[in-house]
Symmetry: C2
Subunit: 445 residues, 2 copies
Amino acid sequence: MEQTKAYIAANRERFLDELGALCGQPSIAALGIGLEETATLIEDRLTGLGAQVRRISIGAGAPIVYAELGEGERTMLIYNHYDVQPADPMNEWESPPFQLTQRDGRLYARGVADCKGDLMCRLQAIEAYQATVGLLPLRIKFLIEGEEEVGSPHLAAFAEQYPDLLQADGCLWESGGKDVARRFLLEFGVKGLCYVELKVRTASSDLHSMWGGVVPDAAWRLVWALNTLKDADDRILVNSLMERVRPPTELERQHLATIPFDEDKVKEIFGISAFIRGLTGVDLLVEHFYMPTCTISGLKSGYIEQGQKTVLPCTAMAKVSFRLVPDLTPDLVADLLRAHLDRRGFSDIEIEILGGIMPARSPMNAPFARACVEAARVTYGVEPIVYPTSPGSGPLYQLCRGTPAAMAGVSHTNCHIHAPNENIYLEDYFQGIHFVGELIRRFSE
Amino acid sequence: MEQTKAYIAANRERFLDELGALCGQPSIAALGIGLEETATLIEDRLTGLGAQVRRISIGAGAPIVYAELGEGERTMLIYNHYDVQPADPMNEWESPPFQLTQRDGRLYARGVADCKGDLMCRLQAIEAYQATVGLLPLRIKFLIEGEEEVGSPHLAAFAEQYPDLLQADGCLWESGGKDVARRFLLEFGVKGLCYVELKVRTASSDLHSMWGGVVPDAAWRLVWALNTLKDADDRILVNSLMERVRPPTELERQHLATIPFDEDKVKEIFGISAFIRGLTGVDLLVEHFYMPTCTISGLKSGYIEQGQKTVLPCTAMAKVSFRLVPDLTPDLVADLLRAHLDRRGFSDIEIEILGGIMPARSPMNAPFARACVEAARVTYGVEPIVYPTSPGSGPLYQLCRGTPAAMAGVSHTNCHIHAPNENIYLEDYFQGIHFVGELIRRFSE
């Protein structure tokens, strides 16, 4: 173990260069940019570790990189994605988004937190293990896709066609890291997602706003329709949606009460004076982990440049993302939304489903979960914090079903994930490499 | 008169070339593009007519071109503006916006309807009169500004500094033209305008939408705030606003009943199945001419490109334009809006006032109004339709106060004003030249 540490320290600069090369390659699934190139870069790194690598395509989807290496009784599946979110708004970045930049002890780049940092640190942990200990004591399967940020539209088909490739005793998931107090977290589930675009057209072209008294305005139609979805107290109003949500059990609430969640620090980092409805304590965590969300992620109509344009817009668009908890499914939510809008007289609002992810939670007492907790204890020197689920989403349901999974990564709460100036801490990155080495040891024991 | 007609016919191609040159010069007040260049182009044309031309600047405003020519008992003020609306969305134009294009008997270009067509046709009418009849029988004053599309922010100061320049017996205003049945219209007033930008910030940066359950979303705040301004029946809810509106008198309603307004044709042209609230007949015209509006002209928050981005936006913006009738003023409406939002708990919504125009109506029985009606009768061969006001806006209040004014132009209802594919009819343009010549004759008699 000391030898492994020394190896990692000796290769520190090269490891950062490798991470820089991966982050320097744009790979934006929403815009179809750089996906093939990034897949090739990762395949080459896996081949260098001695892995058997396969590039698998499902339909017109971005390449899925699958790889196997090591031998042993147990199998650990590692899930990552090489795609990232778009980088806009570009003008809010303090350094170029596709150029890994070190500043104040952090590494900045689009995707460094979500999840190129996790991916590269896992590859380097395996290199360090092989170089200092020898053959891997367990079988590792890598499943690295390129469409996570657009809802993994081809992963269900992959899981159906290649069920054997996903057989494993535990799955190390992407994402995760440290909380605002820099305490290491383990998360044992994901929320689902139903991402829709609402669109409305009210006339054949934009008009002069002098017609605003008598001709319908698309922006108003959209505002009124949206307003029926959530009230000003942030309560979701979509008919029959909240009735399907299981509140946490008494045991789950007791677990939440043990989680140290630094509310003031979170508020300070996000620049907010209060959480929604003034929530605090266990109630805040219930909302965060056990309840669905309904977020307007995008809104556009008419003239949005500087100054005035007195136009009556004929089209309007909103991107709405629902995060889902069991037993909500993307299809169910889309159906409820359609029925809700129709019932309120908004049949003219078109719903385009841009992506769906099933929610999933994984048991916290499986051997894999215990190995994660032990590896975290050794690496970070303290007991890790356990979240019942990530409030984010991922295709855990499609890939893992019966396999216990854990999120344990190199990110942190204020990493600006999906936003400008995405970052991780330099030291978290190297601790992450150590953690993966420890996990390989513990899970193969 | 036959000589004048022959002159116009002989110079048809050159007249169109001159219009093409004016439309080919971009002059976007909202973006500060091409204003000086366009002012110079117009000054040169006026000088060519023998006018005394002055370029007047108020503060940092775009140049105001003022010119005088002719001698006689009466004075006619001509008001135009050389600035135009921005051309976006660019991809919806069928020919380049700043290249005058003839297609199916129409002329397409940004500004050709609003109001470079009016301006050039008036200059050419004077040329034709001088070339075929001789000296102008009345004094003409031109007031041509470059900031109408951003609410004429410097015109009130101009009127205060140069009251003598505005002295006149009648004012030929910009805009106006034919209705959907291609009947010539005269309009004797304008609505006012209060154009505001509503802005809200809910956090220090955009966040991953996994925080949507507990951290406020700027787009939602804006939607809820907007929703309090107008109900889904398009009734303005801003506290105390509608109470200040004078409904039309019985005489005014009787006049409205005489106006031929082809509702089916308007609906067909705009691609709508019904007017707001299913309005029809006199009620529709009351709403159109005698009531204020509240239009969302622009809306933006978060991610608006293709595909999904699961972001929780920290800022949101709406551009809202109110068209005003007497006795609403821009300041009053802005004050009412602020008080309304505060009262509903939306003090966090910032209001930036981007522009204000006073409403104004002018008497329909003044000598100038009668001269307009007679000139229209002669030019178009039928009785013109008289509107009590344009539903659009313009700085009539600042410039005319006591002077009777009329809108009589070369535009038409389906001219796509302020929108892509703005156009006028080729024949309307040449009829407009004849009309101005007739007006010069009738008003000087």
